[in-house]
Subunit: 172 residues, 2 copies
């Protein structure tokens, strides 16, 4: 899939088919994350691939805005370096965007989970004290019963200016 097409066509996926996800595809997704920009190239991220069904279920229970994680065939837990206070959130967010785009190009989908019990998830996965859970990303092929929906975008005319704030770009 073309890069621009992947970026523009990507949808949020919260319902997954039973089709298993190849480990090699998860590695490609993580490689996309590892190639994100990071401040001073510090790469303040770490990834745990979870495919064990019991662990996936527990993750779903611990994601208050991501119960659907429990029904995904796999997940990637993204950890951020706690010692990188200034940039870790921003850098990890960029890694996650790359991961979502790469997954989409491979026919897979995901959804950001923003609220979760990071302490308990870290305990379950044996995460060391230097790292905090940044997000939990479920991955899978979109369920044929619940096709991914598109998000409504604020119009370009309200989000893009030319040369000065409040001077909207004429249509190009």
């Amino acid at each position: 899939m073309e890069a621009l097409e992947a970026i523009l066509s990507r949808r949020v996926v919260r319902a997954f088919s039973n089709k298993p996800v190849q480990l090699s595809d998860l590695v490609k997704i993580i490689d996309a994350g590892r190639h994100a920009m990071s401040a001073r190239n510090l790469q303040p991220w770490h990834f745990i691939i979870v495919r064990d069904v019991a662990t996936i279920r527990k993750l779903g229970e611990l994601c208050s805005t991501g119960r659907f994680v429990a029904d995904a065939p796999c997940a990637i837990v993204v950890l951020k370096d706690k010692t990188n206070v200034r940039w870790a959130d921003i850098d990890c967010a960029q890694a996650v965007q790359n991961m979502a785009n790469a997954a989409w190009a491979l026919g897979l989908g995901t959804c950001w989970v923003g609220n979760f019990d990071g302490q308990k998830i870290a305990e379950i996965l044996g995460v060391s004290d230097n790292w905090a859970v940044f997000t939990v990303l479920p991955f899978g092929y979109p369920s044929p019963n619940q096709p991914p929906s598109s998000q409504r975008l604020r119009p370009r005319s309200q989000t893009v200016d030319l040369e000065r704030f409040g001077q909207p770009l004429a249509s190009v």
Copy 2:
């Protein structure tokens, strides 16, 4: 360019050729940013395309870690919604990653600028009080004299675990 190829091959570009950048390409880059994920789909971003040479020069002066902005043929100033305290940084970072990838797929390059005088930049561009400068992104074709360098990545063996933290993924 294929999506995965764009993500994996993207390099940081700080030195630009004189070749002008089409406004329509800048709009494509911003559209890529507008299609990033955002918490509750709030899209807490705004973009100002700057092509005026005098303004570009001033931006370069105000970017302490991005003097090279002054020599770019154009820049996009990314603003974040100040009222979206919890997620604006993360969401804008995802927009920026999409913009960098889209630019690369179009043959263009950019570089994150992390330190700048946001107050002064906002004054120059007439930015309203609801918005803060998130970053300044120069854009241009890479200079043939200074080809983009690759960043050294932490090896996959140190950044990816399977099922539990500290349990490295065997090579796939």
